[in-house]
């Protein structure tokens, strides 16, 4: 009789276990289906919108990586090739040369090369750029805005929750489709170079 009772208990346990197993399976399936309706094949990456960016300088320090995955990108097609470049020189610079005391960039990551009078090409040396956005601010204020901050996708870890996005005061960060990973102004729309 005692033996029979034990069997019963075991039977009941197995029954409960099976029941719970099935309900968990159904529950998981349910959640998966529900989420799957909102799932997309597209991967997303983080990017910042330069038209919202206020160049507060937080991109340099907020990134989980150091140096930051955010770098200054030069859209040459938009550049005015100015002799007096607002992104290169400190404000009120009178002598336009490459001396350290005239340069805005704290790491001297912008290379200024002479093209023809009076035009100069400015090139960002990405290894040196820390993404502080000082040159971007200068170019925005006194130039064409051809220097823009962007998340360099080869450097970005694509964190689940972007630490810079959280720290960005002007909500410039968003997830963008991985096949269009850059949000540069004046780029990829109509061809800006008309010559």
């Amino acid at each position: 009789m005692h033996e029979g009772g034990k069997d019963k208990t075991v039977g009941r346990r197995t029954f409960i276990r099976n029941g719970v197993q099935i309900s968990i399976a159904v529950g998981l399936g349910g959640i998966a289906t529900l989420v799957a309706t909102k799932a997309g094949g597209d991967e997303f990456v983080w990017q910042l919108d330069p038209s919202k960016c206020t160049q507060c300088g937080r991109c340099a320090n907020s990134c989980v990586k150091s140096p930051s995955a955010v770098k200054c990108v030069h859209v040459y097609a938009m550049c005015g090739y100015c002799d007096l470049c607002g992104g290169y020189f400190l404000p009120e610079t009178k002598i336009l040369d490459t001396a350290a005391e005239h340069q805005l960039c704290p790491t001297k990551a912008i290379k200024r090369t002479f093209i023809e009078d009076p035009f100069f090409q400015y090139t960002i040396e990405e290894d040196l750029c820390i993404g502080c956005g000082k040159c971007v601010k200068g170019c925005d204020a006194f130039g064409n805005g051809s220097l823009q901050l962007q998340v360099r996708q080869n450097l970005c870890d694509n964190c689940n929750e972007c630490a810079i996005a959280r720290n960005c005061p002007s909500d410039a960060y968003s997830r963008v489709p991985a096949d269009k990973p850059y949000l540069l102004n004046g780029f990829g729309k109509e061809k800006p170079d008309i010559t």
Binding site: S66, A100, E101, P106, T107
Partner: protein, 642 residues
């Protein structure tokens, strides 16, 4: 050799290996520990003194600015720069390399430990039998779960009690109240009977004053006169902005000046409508600052500012600002006596340090305005203040530091009881209207434009009032009562400084590097003609119904046919002109930078009427009121006339 020997030998060698592994592990561990300390120290050091942003460097750069010839200082800066960059990159390299070595060391430790575990003879020791009572343990566990629960509940409640501020409710209240305010000012036509009555009471005298205004009906500029008559007509017919203005008037229950008062005084930058047209007759055409001829009075100004004076009855108002101070001045228009001065530096929310502005803009570029009850001033710090006629601050607020690299310069203008602010910034441009009496935001319309330095123009374009604003990339018109955008035309770009001109259904906009464009109003407004021959960088154009007068900052005056764009004449002045021309009494008054007023007929051929000199430079547009001209010079305020 016996088996025991073998085992002994094996154990011995195992023992040796373990000893060795232990030693390696200990050494690696110690190295890892030292590295760890070094990395942390490096990290803290770089965090503490950011080598790329040292105060020493900024001090030296500042010194160089004041003394550009100091070559020793230059060398010093270069050396420091090189050093600091080296420090930055070296420390980055150190942290990274240190990290890798640390990882390798830890790996060695782990491998040694695992190895030891693996080769150590596995003789599981039989654990001591501990008499632990299963049920007793469970009870303890249970009890502690209960303790945790109690702790969580009390902890949360204490925290909630300490931090609870009813933010949710306050916010809901705040949001609801401001929505209500916007509702009632913009949409809600169902005001109660009484307010509607009082409103029509208020409007009635205005209209009569208007219609019976002789100086208006015999006005010299016919199209403007027609505007006036239509204005008085718009009081009653239900235009789309009618309910809005009635209810907003009801909110602050105040009167706004009649058209006669508006044109009789100088209440806004560039004439009462802001379009460069002033009213009245018999303004002087000759004076001499050096001899004092025809100069009624002259008063010294305390703080600099590029705003023009405004005049209400026998009072003249202007503002001035320095990096630390902002002031509003009031003078007696008849005597030049200083009446009052109000320090408005302590507006709540004002930035601790004034924003960096261009020397040629300054911190007090926007001209003030008035509704006859209060005067309003705005500064490049974003401070907006309302003072009553005795100089007492009625309300004040900070709109945020304008994101404007030269400095905010757009002047204020009144529409009835609404104070309109053109708030074009590099990010988040908008146009805002505040209730003059209370300072409450009545409407706010975001503008998809870039930063501009132009001022609003508020004109009656036939059957409605239009607030016309210019900025890169468009000229746009808004309903001044509700802020609703009526039309917009992409036609200018760049750093737009000049405001638009308006006359006879035509709007004229210009900007250097862009073009000069004439827009014919209608549905839709269209570009009637455009030119790139002359464009203005700073002065705004002015027009009457036949001609457009364009002045460039380098001192060229051009007269165009308003309808066709045909160029009638060009005259080049010796000096630059920053002030805008004003059309009054069929003449144009144009002040050049040297302080010489160029007065000429607003006609198809150039005919100079006079070129009186002030005796000091001026970059401000003059104000015209009651037969007198008020000019802000570089140092002094002048009243010219009798």
């Amino acid at each position: 050799m016996t088996g025991t020997d073998n085992i002994m030998k094996e154990t011995k060698s195992t023992e040796q290996t373990i000893q060795l592994l232990r030693k390696i592990a200990v050494i690696s561990g110690v190295v890892a520990f030292i590295l760890c300390i070094l990395i942390i120290a490096n990290y803290i050091q770089v965090k503490r003194v950011d080598p790329l942003n040292t105060p020493a460097m900024s001090v030296m750069l500042e010194r160089l600015k004041s003394n550009p010839g100091d070559d020793a200082l230059r060398t010093e800066i270069r050396e420091l720069d090189l050093l600091s960059r080296k420090a930055f990159f070296t420390s980055q390299w150190q942290i990274r390399t240190g990290g890798y070595i640390l990882l390798v060391c830890l790996l060695v430790v782990i491998i040694c430990m695992k190895w030891t575990e693996m080769i150590q003879p596995k003789i599981p020791p039989l654990p001591e039998e501990v008499k632990e009572n299963f049920w007793e343990l469970r009870k303890i566990n249970q009890r502690w779960v209960i303790y945790t629960g109690i702790f969580l509940v009390t902890g949360s409640l204490v925290l909630a009690f300490l931090t609870y501020k009813e933010i949710g409710k306050t916010l809901q209240g705040q949001a609801a109240s401001s929505v209500l305010a916007v509702d009632s000012s913009a949409i809600n036509p169902a005001m109660d009977q009484e307010t509607n009555l009082s409103q029509s009471d208020q409007q009635a005298p205005d209209q009569s004053q208007y219609a019976g205004n002789p100086s208006d009906s015999d006005g010299t500029i016919p199209d403007v006169t027609t505007d006036h008559t239509t204005i008085s007509g718009t009081g009653t017919p239900s235009g789309d902005h009618q309910p809005a203005s009635s209810s907003s008037a009801a909110i602050s229950a105040q009167q706004y000046p009649s058209r006669q008062e508006v044109t009789g005084n100088a209440i806004t930058f560039r004439g009462p409508d802001g379009n460069g047209v002033a009213y009245g007759k018999n303004f002087p055409v000759s004076w001499n600052g050096a001899t004092g001829a025809n100069i009624k009075w002259k008063a010294q100004l305390r703080l600099p500012g590029y705003n023009s004076p405004i005049v209400w009855k026998n009072r003249v108002f202007l503002s001035g600002a320095s990096a630390t101070k902002r002031e509003v001045y009031c003078f007696n228009a008849d005597t030049g006596e200083f009446v009052w001065l109000t320090d408005v530096s302590a507006v709540p929310g004002t930035p601790a340090t004034a924003p960096k502005v261009d020397r040629e803009t300054g911190l007090a570029a926007p001209t003030m305005t008035t509704d006859g009850q209060r005067v309003y001033a705005i500064f490049a710090t974003g401070d907006l203040v309302a003072l009553d006629m005795t100089g007492k601050i009625v309300w004040s607020k900070n709109l945020g530091i304008p994101q404007n690299h030269y400095g905010h310069s757009s002047s204020l203008i009144m529409y009835r009881n609404l104070l309109i602010v053109q708030w074009d910034q590099s990010k988040g441009a908008s146009v805002k209207a505040f209730d003059g009496a209370t300072g409450d935001l009545v409407w706010n319309t975001p503008r998809n434009v870039r930063v501009s330095w132009a001022s609003p123009v508020l004109v009656n374009t036939g059957n409605r009032m239009e607030l016309i604003l210019a900025a890169d990339p468009c000229v746009a018109s808004y309903d001044p009562a509700t802020g609703k955008e009526r039309w917009k035309l992409d036609c200018i770009f760049g750093e737009v400084g000049p405001s638009v001109a308006y006359a006879n259904g035509m709007v004229f906009a210009t900007n250097e590097y862009a073009k000069t464009v004439a827009i014919k109003l209608g549905s839709p407004p269209q570009v009637s003609w455009e030119t790139t021959d002359y464009m203005s960088d700073i002065p705004s154009p002015v027009a009457n119904d036949k001609y457009l007068f364009l002045v460039t900052s380098y001192g060229a005056i051009v007269c165009y046919d308003a309808k066709t764009g045909e160029e009638y004449w060009v005259r080049e002045l010796d000096d630059n002109t920053y002030a805008s021309p004003v059309l009054v009494d069929d003449r144009i008054y144009l002040m050049d930078k040297a302080g010489v007023m160029h007065i000429f007929k607003a006609d198809k051929v150039f005919a100079s009427i006079g070129e009186p000199a002030l005796g000091e430079g001026s970059v401000c547009t003059p104000a015209f009121s009651n037969g007198r001209i008020y000019i802000r010079g570089d140092q002094n305020l002048y009243c010219i006339g009798k």
